[in-house]
Symmetry: C2
């Protein structure tokens, strides 16, 4: 066609490729090991049969072709999945073609059975076989086509016998490589940015290094924990399966207007202050708080953690105490008022006099360059992950710039956005660069709202927004946790760890620290303003800690690849309005072992009751034919059940509120 | 910022502009006179207040600035509407800015009331006033700002009095033109294709010219109607408010395998055949059927119609009878089988032996050029609208090419797609060029499915898919019409005419022709295969015709601009499960009269019952404050009611199943 280049529609229309980001400003994203759903709307005029392939090219250049299965009749959206196992920018496109053989075979079956156009149909079949054979050398593989051609040409044979031969498996196989197709149409090429595994998958733990090994003497004086004493907890965290240790800011803390216990304004000289009030005479964002040790101590801590398989995530909190060196060296990075003072952080009429917010609009280039220098500095000191404090209070284009710069030089560096704000901002921060985001998870506690939220993050936004399901933070102790007892803590941990590939716990969770400052949603005597003296070991020894439970959850995640995915969450119906059920599944060709992996998670979101109900499973969602019986093993209690489509379930939140049921697949038994 | 050009996010993020087409392959579309909703997601870091403007540039170059009203707290989607009154390609963009005055005023009110930073806040206020005054000349308009500045500077005055002055209307007015703003950010420019009014708005009528004035003699012989006899119906159609008259194909009809009455295969020599079996010895798509007259007769018919304000829509059915001249002149435009015959249309094993489908893949350029020649020919003969038969059986890229070519030379030409098929094809045909499409309307008869469908076409796809709500066609006589009596015919006509700016009626509807061929969804003794002898005038005179009702609907549409829009449909709650209610509204600044126009349509979709229920109106959706009482006048019965938020309604389908209630606005009464 002479004018094709001016048209937007190809011979076979291919539209609505997915995954792409809304607006297409940035590539869709995945992480190494992720099984990514691909889809496109492909259709043609009339009733001829088409075929659709996904052509997926890895950063190294290798191209894989994945044929899309035919969608249900009447549906024009073609869907498949592919595992992306290599870091870097992939590209993919969709190939559509007229499946001339399938079209002919469909018509030939009907017409020959009806005695219509019998001779012509066989002649057309011979033409197609000639096309199939033309592109290939004679071989054992092509022999069935030659045989079929001879049968078609034999006009003395019974037509229904001759056409039946076209359905032979050998014929189908022979046509796989040399199928006669036409009207081949390609979509544009679409990029897919595949980041490293930890961008999307990891079990996080948060602690304040100053509390780890802190000692309170009998006279009440405190010796701060430091990187040496904190190091002692690393082996247990590694044993419990945590991959990332997040540290709140480790820099010198301001003294001017320092906050005291419970966010009071009158700190005593011995109060350590909030680590987020960054900067003092000892230095700013590039320094280590003297109480915690030296830069060398920090580097040794990082090395020790790394040896145990734990990465360090450092807080990047771009704000300053009034004592930060920048205040005198770079007043242009702050907002100066007409009276010559620097503006405090505020929520009018309230002022936060321990914090100066940065102003990015006076000297964007200078301030940006300094932040980049600091980030590079900590990368050089071994940090591979930054947990960014309140990114939604800084201009979004700054983050696009910073993360773009850092990842260009260090594609392995991961940024987690602590943006608890409105969806547009959270999604745009994620789209513009952040590999991970805190989420609304902690505030989704009812069955229906959890189900909605899991659907949103796994289906709608998963190509650019990766949630990290922290179950608590120093700022968040929800009413659900305050009043739900141990059951609530288990429920939320199991929910987070099983549904999201990235989940996290802030220290104290395992000890069921559930007393809030009255009227607030955070712990009383908050660790942000004081030391915590926790005896994890004796709590564990006496059974008062759920650390072993958390460790078990992490072990289950490591044993079951299906659980390390986000986009494969499938909800199942439970009659009860508190029991939530979902499954995750990977077919054998997408697991390392080659065996299918499927887990059904059934959680009683009511921490105060025993509930009984019926669980209705759509078994096709985890690779089994509906209507059969299969075995599941509860990975918490090691109990085995026989399951089918409809199952009686009973969940006692006072013992085990979550059932994590590994599916036994037929092949498993013989293995 | 040095690196801005590499970033996708501006200083203030502006995202998700609407209207745009999905994928952005073609511009979003509107029609002259349409009130178009515009929206964008705009937000910024922190809590400072922003302002957002729509900058809309007409094809002639004039730019209008429409400030977006602030969305509800917590919402980042900004929405407004604008009337587009000029044909051609518009462009628009979104401007976002930091509203420094509003930000300051909000903080100043709170802080001064709390006695915090009082002096500094006034100094900041003076800075802002200086900025406002710097860009302008001293005038009566700027005087309030000078006065305010003096008050701010007067440190002896009471602070609460001084800040109160900032809220004076005169100050707000003075700041309109010279508001101190900063961080101005623009979105990209987005095109909007505005087509002529008839692309989106019109009342259509369909008749077969051979039936209009056809005479059956007492011996049974028939004299065909023709363009001269058919012309006699035009004045009544015009009086009844129809804008477009659609004619099924007017070309010579094939004789080979001609279909007889009720789609039988054995036509007698006197059967006229289906007009869609195009082509005979007398000519093909460029010829006029001799029974209908000459090309000159056709041109005279068009001229007569145009004089009455009626445009002619011609059928463009790209298929051929075996007798079409192309069959011998251009066999390459068909599919030739191995036995040398040309392939019939088929749905295997069924064959349609009166039709050869065209094959666009052998000689796309040659066939396309010929179709373009034919379309140009009929344009030259006065045709301005083409109703395209079964476009979904031809390659979509052909339509993109053809309509693109035709509209480049004749932007006034409108194409209506008769694509009754799956959504992907229908939407892509619309996106790729068709100005209008037949729709699923006829099969949406239950209240809930009508509500869903109205939402879909008015909200989700309105920027590229314009439905034409035909109530019947020669192919479609739904069960709802077959068994619903007169009420069903009134319901469907009122629903179509009131909800869709484009609606249509096929002749016989006004006579309640509701007998179907048994087991089918089309009229018995279908006009496709035979002449119809209808006496519209005597039916009208004796009250057996609902033509006056259809005329009234069209008159109401002409009197109420709100009804000539698609995107302003707003559903209201009715307790009853059969009564559907929606309103349409335009504010005074978007009507020619300058007065607001609002209509509430309440339809009982149950043609077999009297129903009583409560109608719950959200009055803000039609420009009135909730909680007040207002008057409505039923434009069918001329009855007046007093309405409020909750209203008892009673609809008797045996008398008037649809209430079309014009809202009386306060200003109307004084006018």
């Amino acid at each position: 066609m002479t004018t094709e280049s001016t048209l937007h529609i190809g011979r076979i229309p291919i539209r609505h490729l997915s995954p792409v980001q809304p607006e297409g400003l940035w590539p869709a994203e995945a992480f190494v090991g992720e099984v990514v759903p691909f889809s496109a709307t492909v259709f043609r005029e009339g009733h001829d049969i088409i075929g659709v392939d996904l052509e997926l090219t890895a950063p190294s250049g290798a191209t894989t072709v994945v044929p899309f299965p035919h969608p249900s009749p009447g549906v024009d959206e073609w869907r498949t999945t592919a595992l992306v196992a290599e870091q870097g920018t992939w590209s993919w496109r969709v190939k559509a073609y007229s499946d001339d053989w399938a079209t002919w075979l469909h018509a030939a079956d009907l017409k020959i059975a009806a005695g219509v156009d019998v001779d012509v149909m066989f002649l057309l079949g011979i033409d197609l076989l000639d096309r199939a054979l033309a592109g290939t050398r004679k071989s054992a593989k092509t022999a069935p086509l030659e045989v079929l051609k001879t049968a078609f040409a034999n006009t003395t044979g019974d037509p229904s016998d001759r056409i039946a031969l076209a359905h032979a498996v050998a014929v189908t196989d022979a046509l796989t490589a040399n199928r006669p197709i036409s009207l081949v149409t390609y979509s544009d090429s679409v990029p897919l940015l595949v980041e490293r595994e930890r961008a999307g998958l990891g079990a996080w733990y948060e602690f304040f290094p100053r509390s780890e090994g802190a000692v309170r003497a009998t006279d009440g004086t405190v010796t701060s924990g430091n990187f040496v004493t904190a190091q002692k907890r690393l082996p247990q965290l590694a044993a419990d399966g945590f991959d990332v240790l997040y540290l709140p800011p480790i820099h010198p803390i301001g003294r001017t207007n320092r906050k005291g216990p419970n966010n009071t304004l009158d700190a005593s000289p011995t109060d350590p202050g909030s680590p987020w009030a960054i900067g003092a005479a000892e230095g700013g964002h590039d320094a280590v708080h003297p109480d915690l040790g030296t830069v060398k101590d920090f580097e040794a801590f990082v090395t020790a953690a790394n040896k145990l398989g734990i990465e360090i995530a450092l807080d990047l909190a771009l704000q300053c105490s009034p004592d930060h060196p920048w205040v005198t060296e770079h007043p242009e990075w702050f907002t100066t008022l007409p009276d010559g003072t620097i503006a405090f952080a505020e929520n009018p009429p309230k002022k936060y006099q321990d914090i100066y917010p940065l102003n990015f609009d006076n000297d964007f280039d200078g301030l940006s360059a300094e932040v980049l220098r600091i980030v590079e500095l900590w990368i050089a000191r071994g940090v591979t992950i930054f947990r960014v404090d309140n990114p939604h209070t800084k201009p979004v284009h700054f983050w696009e710039w910073l993360i773009g710069r850092v990842n260009a030089a260090h594609p392995e560096v991961v940024f987690l956005a602590e943006a608890f704000t409105r969806p547009a901002m959270m999604q745009t921060l994620a789209a513009a660069g952040f590999q991970q985001s805190y989420s609304y998870f902690t505030w989704r506690n009812q069955k229906w709202e959890i189900a909605d939220y899991l659907t949103e993050v796994s289906q709608k936004t998963a190509s650019y927004f990766r949630p990290n399901f922290f179950v608590n933070t120093p700022d968040i102790l929800t009413e659900y946790l305050q009043f739900g007892g141990v059951a609530a803590y288990k429920i939320r941990a199991a929910l987070a760890a099983m549904s999201a590939p990235s989940w996290g716990v802030y220290a104290g969770y395992e000890l069921i620290e559930n007393v809030a400052r009255p009227g607030s949603e955070e712990n009383i005597d908050n660790e942000k303003y004081e030391y915590k003296f926790r005896d994890f070991d004796s709590a564990r020894a006496s059974g008062r800690s759920i650390a072993p439970y958390l460790g078990r959850l992490n072990a289950i995640r490591r044993a079951h690849p299906a659980l390390r995915q986000l986009r494969n969450i499938e909800l199942h119906h439970v009659d009860d309005d508190a029991i939530l059920a979902f499954s995750k599944y990977l077919p054998g060709h997408q697991t390392e072992s080659g065996r299918p992996d499927g887990v059904i998670v059934v959680i009683n979101t009511d921490p105060h009751a025993v509930r009984e109900s019926t669980l209705r499973l759509n078994m096709e969602l985890f690779g089994l034919p509906n209507g059969t019986q299969f075995e599941v093993t509860d990975l918490i209690t090691d109990t085995t059940y026989s399951f089918g489509n409809d199952n009686f379930i009973r969940i006692d939140s006072f013992t085990e509120p979550a059932q994590i049921l590994a599916i036994t697949y037929p092949d498993d038994e013989t293995a």
